[in-house]
């Protein structure tokens, strides 16, 4: 029982870590609070649910969902950069629009029937994992994807483009004097981030075999919390990468929520607990910072 729960929490944490990577890029690197997430996460799920139901191969849904997420990020980026709309508002506009778009894509809440293969039940996964139980299969697939994504992101930040993206978030004026368009860099960062978020949505949909119109609510706050938990935890260890922080933060967060549910918390109160937890994390982070500055 306890083992089952641990495996499930780990799987959740890893699948949602992809979303947290996205938030890490927008929030930590670009200093851009990207609310698109609440729309691009269910967008990835909606696209996936529809495609799976239409008989599209489960692996083929991944790039398509990611492309949809990229488009969402692109739209927020263009609204912010070309129309000079404030970052938060740009994200809210896209997120709001996506709520309808997602329902338009999926019709309504949409289930993926048992007989349809997902990346967790495909024959490839079967071969890879032998006769392992479904929960273990899910965990293995989640580990593989979360680790590959982490490595790719880490490698990207060592490229010229990745370094320029880091500089854009830190000092836009500097990037301009280097004859580079900081607006395009912001758009690029949003595209990358929302691609990851939609990937997360795609995999979560395949894991739970369902798209729900409301599944995006609070995802940005979750991602922020994961990133902040992770970075606060590893603050003293500067060699730990931001992506690792996001991954660990995501797992811890999911574990906390699971714990709360096990302690008998009604699911209706989940978002309330999420908000309070997030507040606590922020306050603790501030207190620590204050202590540091006074020291």
């Amino acid at each position: 029982m306890f083992l089952d729960l641990t495996i499930s929490v780990l799987t959740q944490g890893l699948l949602y870590a992809l979303l947290a990577y996205g938030i890490f890029i927008t929030y930590k690197i670009l200093d851009f609070p990207d609310l698109t997430v609440d729309g691009s996460f269910p967008l990835g799920a909606a696209v996936t649910a529809v495609l799976l139901n239409r008989g599209v191969n489960c692996y083929a849904t991944i790039p398509i969902a990611m492309a949809a997420g990229a488009l969402a990020g692109l739209i927020t980026g263009l609204i912010h950069v070309r129309f000079r709309i404030r970052d938060l508002l740009a994200g809210i506009i896209t997120m709001t629009a996506l709520f309808s778009v997602n329902l338009q894509i999926a019709g309504s809440n949409l289930a993926v029937p048992r007989e349809i293969d997902t990346v967790f039940t495909s024959s490839l996964t079967e071969k890879l994992t032998g006769g392992a139980p479904l929960a273990v299969k899910k965990l293995i697939v989640a580990v593989i994807i979360a680790v590959i994504a982490k490595i790719v992101i880490d490698l990207y930040f060592r490229t010229k483009s990745g370094l320029l993206l880091r500089a854009t978030g830190s000092n836009g004026t500097f990037v301009t004097t280097l004859a580079k368009d900081k607006g395009s860099m912001k758009i690029l960062g949003l595209v990358i981030a929302d691609t990851l978020v939609a990937l997360s949505g795609c995999l979560v949909c395949q894991e739970q075999r369902a798209f729900a119109a409301t599944m995006g609510t609070g995802q940005m706050v979750f991602g922020l919390a994961a990133v902040i938990i992770g970075t606060t935890l590893f603050k003293k260890l500067s060699f730990i990468k931001g992506t690792t922080c996001a991954l660990v933060g995501s797992v811890i967060y999911k574990a906390c929520i699971q714990l709360a549910i096990n302690l008998g918390l009604p699911t209706n109160l989940l978002k309330l607990v999420t908000a309070v937890l997030f507040l606590v994390i922020l306050v603790v982070g501030n207190v620590r910072k204050g202590a540091h500055e006074n020291a």
Binding site: K160, S161, S170, N171
Partner: protein, 257 residues
């Protein structure tokens, strides 16, 4: 050659805080000239540099470099041919990256930033060599986060980075103002050396009258968006800080304070 013609600049147009700073302002800076600009606070020096670099929009007039009208050209594109150092050392470098990463970025200024490796280890010796010319020991700090360098060190790095690529124009906005007198002297020396080595056309704003007199080939004083003094050549060589100070005072008295 840098030419500003008939510039009109209004801040907050249409609002109650509307302020017309420049109206019919013109200035020509020939190739190879080192122009120093002095003037009281709020006289429009920074605004002038911002207009040259395209950081702020203007209502009328044109900016021309080397015969090309760049009035409508985006700010970031102008920097392909411009180097700029700001008063605030935090502006010209990226504090969250190491000095090596900063130098690498500057090294890629006019190249495409794709998926190639960001830091080319082979170039590290070249960066060290460049940094060693300053004599502040920065060549041993390549792996230090720039945010933990002192203001003077950061400003020196910013200057090196701004002049690392082949450019024609160097724009300096009180780039020694935040530094202690000794470091300021060092930075000013390096500036002068770089300008001469690279044959840069330079526009330097400064509140340091001694620098304005000692360095550069032309000196202008600004007041309320207008040029009130313009000395070049032998006339500039014979100007000393007392003359400039006298002019400053004359303007203030006209204003009645």
């Amino acid at each position: 050659m840098l030419e500003l013609k008939d510039i009109k600049k209004i801040y907050n147009p249409g609002l109650i805080t509307e302020m017309c700073l420049f109206d019919g302002f013109s200035l020509t800076v020939p190739d190879g000239e080192f122009l120093s600009i002095v003037g009281s606070n709020g006289s429009g020096k920074t605004s002038l540099l911002n207009i040259i670099c395209g950081s702020i929009p203007i209502q009328r007039g044109s900016v021309t470099v080397n015969g090309e009208d760049i009035t409508g050209k985006k700010e970031y594109k102008r920097y392909r041919n411009f180097g700029r150092v700001y008063q605030d050392p935090a502006m010209g470098t990226c504090k969250d990256l190491t000095l090596l990463e900063n130098m690498s970025l500057a090294d890629n200024k006019n190249r495409h930033c794709g998926l190639g490796g960001a830091v080319n280890k082979k170039r590290a010796d070249f960066y060290k060599e460049q940094l060693a010319t300053i004599g502040l020991g920065l060549e041993d700090k390549l792996h230090v986060r720039v945010g933990s360098l002192s203001g003077g060190q950061r400003q020196a790095a910013a200057l090196i980075m701004a002049t690392m690529n082949p450019i024609d124009f160097l724009i300096l906005d009180e780039h020694t103002a935040a530094l202690d007198p000794k470091t300021a002297d060092i930075i000013m020396e390096i500036t002068d050396r770089r300008v001469k080595e690279m044959g840069l056309t330079t526009v330097m704003v400064t509140h340091n009258l001694r620098y304005a007199c000692e360095y550069g080939s032309r000196l202008i004083m600004m007041d309320k968006g207008q040029i009130v003094m313009d000395k070049a050549g032998a006339e500039k060589q014979n100007t000393d800080t007392k003359d400039i100070l006298a002019m400053f005072n004359a303007i203030s008295i006209e204003c009645g304070n």
